[in-house]
Subunit: 417 residues, 2 copies
Amino acid sequence: MLLVMKFGGTSVADVARIKNAALHVKREVEAGNRVAVVVSAMAGHTNQLVAWTREASLIHDAREYDAVVASGEQITSGLMAIALQSLGVTARSWQGWQIPLKSDDAHGAARIDVVEASEIRRRLDLGEVAVVAGFQGISPNNRITTLGRGGSDTSAVALAAAIKADRCDIYTDVDGVYTTDPRVEQKAQRLDRISYEEMLEMASLGAKVLQTRSVELAMVQGVRVQVRSSFDPPDICKPAQLGLAEGCGTLVCDEAEMLEQRIVSGIAYTKDEAKVTVLAVEDKPGVAAGIFMPLAEANINVDMIVQNISEDGRTTDMTFTVAASEFSRALDVLRLLENSIKYADLRGDTDVAKVSVIGVGMRSHAGVAAQMFQALAEKGINIQAISTSEIKISVLIGAAYTELAVRTLHTLFGLDH
Amino acid sequence: MLLVMKFGGTSVADVARIKNAALHVKREVEAGNRVAVVVSAMAGHTNQLVAWTREASLIHDAREYDAVVASGEQITSGLMAIALQSLGVTARSWQGWQIPLKSDDAHGAARIDVVEASEIRRRLDLGEVAVVAGFQGISPNNRITTLGRGGSDTSAVALAAAIKADRCDIYTDVDGVYTTDPRVEQKAQRLDRISYEEMLEMASLGAKVLQTRSVELAMVQGVRVQVRSSFDPPDICKPAQLGLAEGCGTLVCDEAEMLEQRIVSGIAYTKDEAKVTVLAVEDKPGVAAGIFMPLAEANINVDMIVQNISEDGRTTDMTFTVAASEFSRALDVLRLLENSIKYADLRGDTDVAKVSVIGVGMRSHAGVAAQMFQALAEKGINIQAISTSEIKISVLIGAAYTELAVRTLHTLFGLDH
């Protein structure tokens, strides 16, 4: 098999862990697989580099920030190559500019344009392991760029697409994707497979295993992604083999590859939400736009929206959610509207949580929402807002009820075993 | 003026010091000078990186070692650019591969082939400060190389030659080159000027201000080098100005630029020497070669050599010095020769020191050696070996007499004031 193996920051946190990760690579090479490795910076190291740039100047040039911060992955790529060589595995490190992995010049959060991987591919075919520094690329101006937080996952998926890898294995500090957060529900089950669409919902809703961006790219490019733990003993895991079940971790793949379809695959939650209510605005065309356009212009993402007819029938209450980090900015924007949009009052609340039920099976099964609302009602949990997509139903509830709601829904949809 | 300003590891040891160094640069820019900066890694950081490569594997690929270790200078170059920008100075960082500074592929100790500085030169002329990561280059195979310890000085001098700088200022943690080690002789004087040849002798004989290699390059390329302290307050130093005296630090320059010629410019010493004596070898042609060829083949540098006729007139005692670090290896080589070269015994001694008197004035003044030997004899210091060059006389003495000898010679040659 042609494999990409990506090791995150905790998996390469020190030299001992880098050596352990190298044993995983050796296992695959010895089984006859051709391997490209993508590494993050040693855990904590990127934070140190970022702190230095801030100490140098609070307002800093993103191009120079990138030159500083990209050095973290450079170090791990060299150390990983050394560790592999000491195990008898031929290996060579590759920086973003050496590949080259070409990006735009949006320094600090660059987008990948193209990965010119023909030389790496040639060497893979000769049996050399390519150790690629993740998170970095090179701009049209020959400057180092970084892809933003979580960019190493994206590097790995983009590289996998470029070399047409059979799979992209993301080694991290958890052993796969779970039906929900195991800290909230001990009965959470590791999923053998999950579809890209479900993973996207899980990722963007607070399950922090994979970055949204890398899942989107994997979906678009059709890259099969295996999430697995680097802390599993390297010699116990079976080498990757075409057509065989993976055995450990979770495969993120096309819906068509899913073996059995559950209706619901997982329960996600996030407490990083804030609720805003604009009371008694005029109920006439254009008012909603008058509220949401200014928020959009201020780059504030609005998520759930609920509109209630108020008692007098001529005005309406508008409730919506934003990220908790943008809460006070959203209120500022709305206060400035008081002259253009008439409203009685503004209310806000950060003591809320969003709990979501996710599953591609919902497409063909009606009644999931009804079951969900009823089960929550039976526990006395009040639903403050609802949003849905084809494969997801989210509810906004009081933050204190988060764990109860997650456990209730986990049991309701048969995920406990 | 067109200036190169190089800051060593202690001058950029943390972000506060990088900001201080940036103030030195700002002073020169504001005076209308065009400036290229060369930076070392933060003091101690290179050692950390080297330690990691050793932890990854004791036997490591020098190409990967270079990829890891070069990241230290990458970090400081970015931080320095940020610090300069925050002072309102336009600046841009440059890695070895971006310039490009092309080297051979002797990884870990690469030699510079050419510095293609036309783009940097163009930007300097537009008023942009170039912040170059020292110590690193790029090989013909597109791999990062490092130039070996002290390589940042060499980077600075090579860059100065490439852009035809008027001067290369080496900022370090001492304020210039002294007539001798101030820890040994408090009356040691800072030299305003020193010739390349003298500096070479001072550098290779244990005065650790500048690396030998960078002085050689400066001499060959005719680059004027100013050694000065980054700890001098940035606002008190005068900006560099063509044709004016420097005022602080020591200018390393061509002999023709020396204002007054002293006979002796400085006294250097080193205790890193070992003495080896091969007793009673046959006094016939070929014996010296029989001893020194095997040492050369073992890459052991022999320095001073003394041959004494022994009492019987048919054999001779051969005494020579090697670096203390190679002492036991030298003895091993000689023991293996016992069958091919007949000798009575081997003796060794690491309790020795080499003290040297250096000055281009010696070329035209006879009698320096005689004065030196007599002054040492008057203090009861026994000379065990002697070596000389056109501008240097070195003697090997008991290590316990080092400081006494240095002080005696410092006074003898009028360096105390």
